[in-house]
Each structure stands twice: as structure tokens, then as C-alpha cells.
Symmetry: C2
């Protein structure tokens, strides 16, 4: 017997990211976990219109998506607690730039995606920025056989329902494979 | 020192879902993990235009997002391996309907979201369907203090980079809280 909960979003967990953008010419970082993949090469960021960062993304048409590890949970949460309007957040991290030049990235995050804004999907209170991934950077320490290994990245997984961060568990099956047993 | 990997999508893990829709009047299920949250009440599904299910979503303007548990990994993977054009997938599950009437849902999945199509974002090879969550249903067994508890849901997390399914790890920090220590 199912219980009806009303309209409750349960599409969790999602990976917690720190989004970087230049705002008024200065790097700013904001924590965003309402993210997604639209087609293979693009990512979406659901960002409340009251955020300081949105104007910077619209001006430069670039942003970065940085994947913090569980060890960075305090800095990550901090970037979601305080607006760039009132707190200078760049001192928390070492910033670097890539080929797009205007998307500040976080050295301490093991994986960084440098993105070009290709669409903005408008919602009443949210800008959903869709970025084409232009370049991806990572630390050698998170690679296994040349591919990014998420058991090494140790991402921070976000669940809104209990407002909590979770760790990634272990790998237990191969995709496009384990289902063949039912054929 | 960062290594540049080209344009590699690393926005993982994402929750593996089974999307339900009526196609030619019959329930069909497809595995989709390129999903996201756009604003608080909506979800997005990135679905290759060659999928059988897309026409059904466009016709009825409804779909369901079902969250399978790790115990259902074989059935879940199967729904991603075989198209509804060639395989009848409804026999795998017990189907139920909710208030929208045209969004088939999976009884065995502990959490089900019944959605109304509100936007379609067009990509060259993908339809990105954006659904407003109308009603959410769940098994009482996954609730803790009235909220959906993802440690009980045991979702299947997808990582494209190694084409694998992962389990959810344990909760380790509170969001909008743990970062206050840095204030």
C-alpha cells in the first residue's frame, strides 16, 4: 500500500558541486546541488534568481563546475550558507583558470569542468543554466586506467529530504550488463 | 598539477530512475540516469530521441519517475538494455496509476513521482523533458519521521565514466550547518 506525500521531490541524491564564475570581474563560488545532465556533453544548474552568481554567468557566458571531496565538506557547505554579496569566498581556495579564461576553478577540487553557457531555461524563481562542457581538468590521483574514478573522487552527495550530505558507497554492478541475466 | 581530459562529463553519480509512460496506450518503462532538478518542484530527463518512450510522453504530457532499489538492479538494467519497440517490459513489474491517470508507476519501486510535462528542452539528439511533480507516492517502509529516508530507499547510483552502479554510502554531515564552523 502506497502513501501519498503530496508533491515531494525525491530525485536524490545529487552530487554537490561548487560553481565558479566571475562576478564584477572577481571570482565567486557558490554551492549548487540541484544539477543534472541534459545530453551527454552538457550539465544544468538550477540557481535561485536571488543568487549573486547568476549575473556573472549571464555576463561572461562561462562558469565552472567543481567537484569537492568529502574532506572539503565544511568549505563546500560554507559556500552555500553565505552569499558572495556579503562574504568574500575566494580566500577559501586556490583559484586557477583554463582555456576559456573567465571561469574560475578550484585547485583543491579533484575534478573541474569548464563550461560555456548554451541555454538558460527560465522558471519563475530559478535560472537554469545549461553549460556545454568545454574542458575537464582533474588530479592524476583520481584516475584509474585514464578514467575518472569516483571511488577516488569521494564526492559529497546531497539529499534535500533530510538536508544531509552522504558519501558514495561501493560499486556493485556493471551497467548495460547485469540486466542481461534476465534476457 | 591538473591533467586536461578534453570535454569529459563528470557530473556523477546520478540516481538511476525508471521512467514510465503510456506508449500507444500501453505502459512502457525505460531506465534513465541522465536526470536533474531544475527548480524545487521539477525534474528533468535527458532522453535520446531514438527512444520508444519519447512519443508517449509527448502525446500524454505525463510520465512517472520511479526510484528502484539496489535489489532491483537486474530489472533496472534490463529496462535500459532493451527498447520497448522489441521487448514487452511491463511483465517485469506490477503497474499502478495515480491521480493523473496516464502515468504508469511501478509498485515494486519504493518511491514514485507522478509528473506533468511542463517544458521540453530541445538538443540535437536529445529531448529533455521537464516535469512538474504532481504527486509523490512511497512505501511506508522508507519513511523516517514522515520524510523519505534515502538510507532506506537504497537507490542505485549511476556513473558513466566506468559504466557502473554504486550504492549510497552513509550520512556524514548536515547541510546548511557543518560550514558554520568556518564562520
Amino acid at each position: 500500500m502506497k502513501k501519498e506525500l503530496g508533491a515531494k521531490n525525491c530525485l536524490y541524491p545529487l552530487p554537490t558541486t561548487i560553481v565558479g564564475a566571475l562576478v564584477d570581474g572577481k571570482p565567486n563560488y557558490i554551492t549548487i546541488a540541484h544539477v543534472g545532465i541534459m545530453d551527454m556533453g552538457s550539465v544544468s544548474l538550477g540557481m535561485n534568481k536571488n543568487h549573486y552568481t547568476n549575473a556573472g554567468i549571464k555576463t561572461n557566458c562561462t562558469f565552472s563546475v567543481n567537484i569537492p571531496s568529502v574532506k572539503m565538506v565544511k568549505q563546500t557547505d560554507y559556500c552555500g550558507l553565505f552569499s558572495g554579496k556579503i562574504k568574500e569566498k575566494t580566500a577559501l581556495f586556490k583559484t586557477f583558470y583554463g582555456k576559456l579564461k573567465t571561469a574560475p576553478m578550484i585547485e583543491e577540487c579533484k575534478v573541474n569542468m569548464e563550461c560555456e553557457l548554451i541555454k538558460t531555461v527560465d522558471f519563475p524563481n530559478y535560472d537554469v543554466f545549461v553549460g556545454k562542457i568545454a574542458y575537464t581538468y582533474c588530479d592524476e590521483s583520481v584516475l584509474t586506467d585514464g578514467a575518472v574514478d569516483f571511488s577516488k573522487v569521494q564526492p559529497i552527495l546531497f539529499v534535500m529530504n533530510d538536508r544531509s550530505y552522504y558519501k558514495l558507497g561501493h560499486k556493485f554492478a556493471k551497467a548495460w550488463d547485469v540486466g542481461k541475466e534476465l534476457k
